[in-house]
Symmetry: none
Subunit: 186 residues, 4 copies
Amino acid sequence: MMQAAVRIFAEKGYQAATVRDIVEAAGVAIGTFYFYFPDKETLFVHLYEETADFLLQTIGQSLNSRATMPKQYQTALNAYVNIAVYEPAIIQLLLIGGVGAVPALEEKRAAFRERLTQVWQRPLLQALDKNQIAAQNDRRTAEALTGAFDEVILNLLKQPDPGEDASNTVHDMTQFAIRATAYRGE
Amino acid sequence: MMQAAVRIFAEKGYQAATVRDIVEAAGVAIGTFYFYFPDKETLFVHLYEETADFLLQTIGQSLNSRATMPKQYQTALNAYVNIAVYEPAIIQLLLIGGVGAVPALEEKRAAFRERLTQVWQRPLLQALDKNQIAAQNDRRTAEALTGAFDEVILNLLKQPDPGEDASNTVHDMTQFAIRATAYRGE
Amino acid sequence: MMQAAVRIFAEKGYQAATVRDIVEAAGVAIGTFYFYFPDKETLFVHLYEETADFLLQTIGQSLNSRATMPKQYQTALNAYVNIAVYEPAIIQLLLIGGVGAVPALEEKRAAFRERLTQVWQRPLLQALDKNQIAAQNDRRTAEALTGAFDEVILNLLKQPDPGEDASNTVHDMTQFAIRATAYRGE
Amino acid sequence: MMQAAVRIFAEKGYQAATVRDIVEAAGVAIGTFYFYFPDKETLFVHLYEETADFLLQTIGQSLNSRATMPKQYQTALNAYVNIAVYEPAIIQLLLIGGVGAVPALEEKRAAFRERLTQVWQRPLLQALDKNQIAAQNDRRTAEALTGAFDEVILNLLKQPDPGEDASNTVHDMTQFAIRATAYRGE
DNA sequence: TATGAATGAGAATTCATTCAT
DNA sequence: TATGAATGAATTCTCATTCAT
């Protein structure tokens, strides 16, 4: 039922998704929903947090290597795109599903954006330490990259066959990041 | 009443905003709403399109000069940030208000994203023509810049006093765009 | 609609009475209910308090004369029985409708019982002052009379034609009160 | 489980008490409830009747002595108050728990009130036979005493420590009954 | 005997929309 | 033009009851 819920929430967003939609997608009765979850909001928050944690951890781990900044971004973007292609609902839930919902959600969403920005900022800080990129407002660069990656991925998902263009997308985004940070190598 | 509607839709999003909210904010009766607009959805779509047109035109005009690409982006981003600071409702309506709403909206929203991407892509195409930026997937760069700008602006609006940081934000985004496109001047 | 609500609440009690029952009895739509009242509980509390005030005031005024205690009780019991016969819903609402309901109600109910007891206690206190009744625990006598009168009235309302026996009931209850207080006259 | 049910029904009343409340209080599963009882209503009616029988029998036996009317009432009221103090759930179930519930209950409740009235009426009839009390509408006196006793006992149970005031209450009620029946002794 | 996951009818409440004035 | 009382479909959530294990 949780898979069905993720799918429905991803498709319609929190407000438009009804409990009936979810249980119908899961093939169970309404009562069953309330047997497992206290209410719609709690489930959504739970799903949102769990999904956010998964995404942040996956991207974060890809960035943990000692490789160069380009390699780090490439690896992490590859992981991100893979999730988008094979589990698009996850991306849609995080990037679309929780917008304009209840206040409790708005807060979670803001926290997720913040953590995501900080994840993408890490390679920047390391590269700055090693003097491999130009001096810049690294926080703002991180914000910009965060928005850039998400937008490109959402555009990728709009295509009829996202998988086909996945590796190109990773390549383009990596190059974009290298340029945008003025990476000058070792 | 339309101003009130923009404000309410921007604050709460399409779903959460009720017709009652809007008419109360406008100081009229519910019946008056339905005298002027056929229904809530039509009004929202109308407002969304009108607002999108305004934003696209404002940004587009700022890009129409014969100036260099950096100057173009700087001017346009300045206009964008000004709107965000002085009419935050417009930005919130476009970037947040219409997410996860009715299908008819989703379509308009997609069209707006597409047009916005094409607007930001124009300086790129001109610069490529003049061989002022490196060869690149300019469509994807445009998508990335579109997402980058929006994310930075939404972060700006989260600050207690967005106006204070406005010019810095314009500067940072402009530099980001210059780097991200590998602009090498004339 | 309020009359219909009193009737339904009196018939079924707070819990068993549904909003649908009420609006059907009133011949309006469900939405109309919520146009006039914020929710079922608020309406019930309002009705309960208003009805309690009415009953207490009616009985209280009947006791306000300078007459002798028997005359006071007779007049007040006559008023009480009249309400029971001509507006049985009022009595049922107060004595039955609010039992075992929400906590907010339980409190109102307790307050009503307390006030009713105090009303019936007043003639006792005056008579004690004038040394017309034997020394006794007047508070407890008042409680007992309160319960006694209510029980007799509820039994009266169970009869096929309560009106027929009304004056006898008033007489019997008055005599009961005279005996129970050991009234010895002037 | 039946003890738990009595306690829960007494606390919350028939409507508000859920089967889940009962099985949780009893430490068994929901299925177990339906293995032993056909449904909630049947259990309640059964419990109500059983409890009513117990109370009526206890009071009835206390009245069966050949003692004088005052002694009879004193003994029976003592038994009644003892039950109230040591098993308040029994009193609450009978006097409150079943109000405003299902129709089947209303009937049982009416039957219980009728039997209780008849029990309290018995000493009156004997005393009338022996010419020890004044001529009066003995049925109505019995109703009044029934209501009086219940009201006083419910007030007793509202006190923080009902046991403390128990013997006073028995004394006061006995005196009340003696006065109310105009008992003149042998 | 005992369990507890699963069910779905029914209850309260919301809100877009209509229409007589 | 403007009003706002009235509507009822749709939504969330509860809870008595069933049944396979």
